[in-house]
Subunit: 329 residues, 2 copies
């Protein structure tokens, strides 16, 4: 297997990307190809003293930044690490691509270069997010602002396959995000998507309201990319607020600092629960080869986990399973 990694993507690139990939190369033994500015990557590999033979470097002179307009960046920056990596994936020079770079450019590139699985109408961004007792997959978290019922139906099928194979959940509970539980609630598109989902063999459990999502009512929460993006970022914001509050609460005085010591295990656990970046990258579901969006703020550990997730997506043949099932359902 060859895992292609965009060495220049994300807030901490290339340093943390290279460190994380070294950890992953050493622990999983698979081949990793780092794409980006050669001199920098080689300098970092040397600095970290990587001695294994399973990391290769593929030069790419340009970088797509967070400020670039996605589609034009993909079209114009022909020698960017993001585009070069996606092109390698497309021509089978690798099995999976991981990037923490510009989300919009990665989604546009995945669609334009790697292309959609035959029958898939739209690719979807699907981050794994924390709940009270586990996690859920949010599909779509921002790839498609507006979605037809047919798109939503496909997101549900792809999400169900992902959670079944990657998270080992038998018959994942799939819900459509809506503003009520009664059948006639919500927009026409959602009502129609609900009707379509009842005819599929997946475990569609009906509408899920905002309240039920963090409480863990479903394993897959399906919505258009507008709603999903608001939910994703709102959760991120709430996480920041609660963590800030904790800091203030426990650093107020000597007694409160002592109090923090007594519950430090639980505090660390909560910080982890609130931090959805701990849950690895978000797959872009529906492409002909697996593509993973790592969080922009990923550190070495997060890249390590993203590579682990990439290996799993290949080994468990997520793309093949989606291709087999998407048109049948």
């Amino acid at each position: 297997m060859n895992i292609i990694v965009d060495a220049m993507g994300g807030d901490n690139a290339p340093d943390e990307v290279v460190k994380g990939c070294i950890m992953a190369a050493e622990s999983f033994g698979e081949k990793i190809t780092l794409v980006g500015v050669e001199s920098e990557i080689n300098r970092l590999l040397k600095k970290e003293g990587f001695a294994g033979g399973n990391i290769e470097v593929r030069g790419a002179t340009e970088v797509i930044t967070g400020d670039d307009e996605p589609t034009s960046a993909i079209r114009q920056k022909k020698d960017s690490s993001l585009r070069v990596g996606l092109e390698m994936l497309h021509r089978d020079a690798g099995d999976v691509f991981v990037s923490a770079g510009n989300t919009g450019a990665l989604i546009a590139g995945a669609t334009l270069i790697v292309k959609r699985i035959r029958g898939v109408r739209r690719v979807a961004l699907a981050p794994l997010m924390p709940t009270e007792n586990g996690c859920f997959l949010l599909v779509d978290a921002g790839a498609n602002t507006e979605c037809s019922p047919a798109f939503l139906k496909q997101f549900a099928i792809m999400g169900s396959i992902y959670m079944e194979k990657i998270m080992n959940i038998d018959k994942p509970r799939v819900g459509l995000i809506n503003i009520g539980s009664e059948e006639e609630k919500g927009t026409e598109n959602i009502v129609e998507a609900g009707r379509l989902l009842k005819e599929t063999p997946i475990n569609y459990t009906g509408y899920v309201e905002g309240r039920g999502i963090p409480c863990g009512e479903v394993d897959v929460a399906v919505c258009d990319g507008f709603t999903g993006n608001v939910v994703l970022k709102f959760m991120e914001g709430m996480g920041i607020v609660v963590k800030d509050y904790f800091k203030k609460m426990f650093f107020r005085n000597a007694l409160s600092k002592f109090s923090a010591l007594l519950v430090r295990g639980s505090l660390k656990e909560l910080a982890k629960t609130l931090d959805y970046t701990e849950y690895g990258g978000a797959p872009i579901l529906g492409c002909m080869k697996p593509v993973i969006k790592a969080h922009g703020s990923s550190n070495a550990k997060a890249f390590y986990h993203a590579v682990r997730q990439a290996i799993e997506m290949v080994n468990k043949n997520i793309v093949g399973t989606i291709a087999e099932n998407i048109s049948q359902y």
Copy 2:
């Protein structure tokens, strides 16, 4: 002033409604009219030993429950406390109406019976919600599933007036909820609403992303009722999850219980921050007379606060100010 209160609405009606109204009648001195099943209300007033002369009872034999279909309940249950109260408000037998009952029925009733201010296209549900350092008004939180740019513009104006007058904020910062900060982001409706808002004299600060909302980037967050309802309920769910986590964390063993004692002040404060019901009821903005939706789970204290808010809405002439400004802008 006469504050009309639906004595039968909410999970804890009529007991907590009556208790809360007694507290409010005693502390504010205004007249309160409790609408609902007379015998029950009188029994509770007697039980609580209310001796003041400023609570009246108006009999209504029917009750609209949470399970009733909103519009048909309003049409068919002609002698329900919710409908009778709204009719009293409409014919000037009172100055403001408060109900913790069926949200959909209250919104439908407010539109059909109290009617919209001339020039207002749609009424909006506008709860006040907590942020890191204060609160923000969410408009619309569920009255209108789909919204035209003109609706969104009016929600922004009404929200700005409410926050300026009720929360004493000079030039409230008003943002449109969107999935990016660049002008071309989001749906066509949002882009057009942004264009319209730039032409108004309110302090429109542009798009606000999900992350910025709990962090307190805006005083008024404007969106369609679908998005708003998902955000409202998602926040509610996150609050429940974080509180549950706290309980588990601090009740784990003797040391953690001791730890909780050391920070109990901060813990109570956090619980309060996470609980948006503490922030009073949600006004239904755009009606010809003020209508307030108290949270369904309101206890006596929450009703007391809802009555206080009702008095303020009347005293600060929110309806009149909206009427004066909505067509000019």
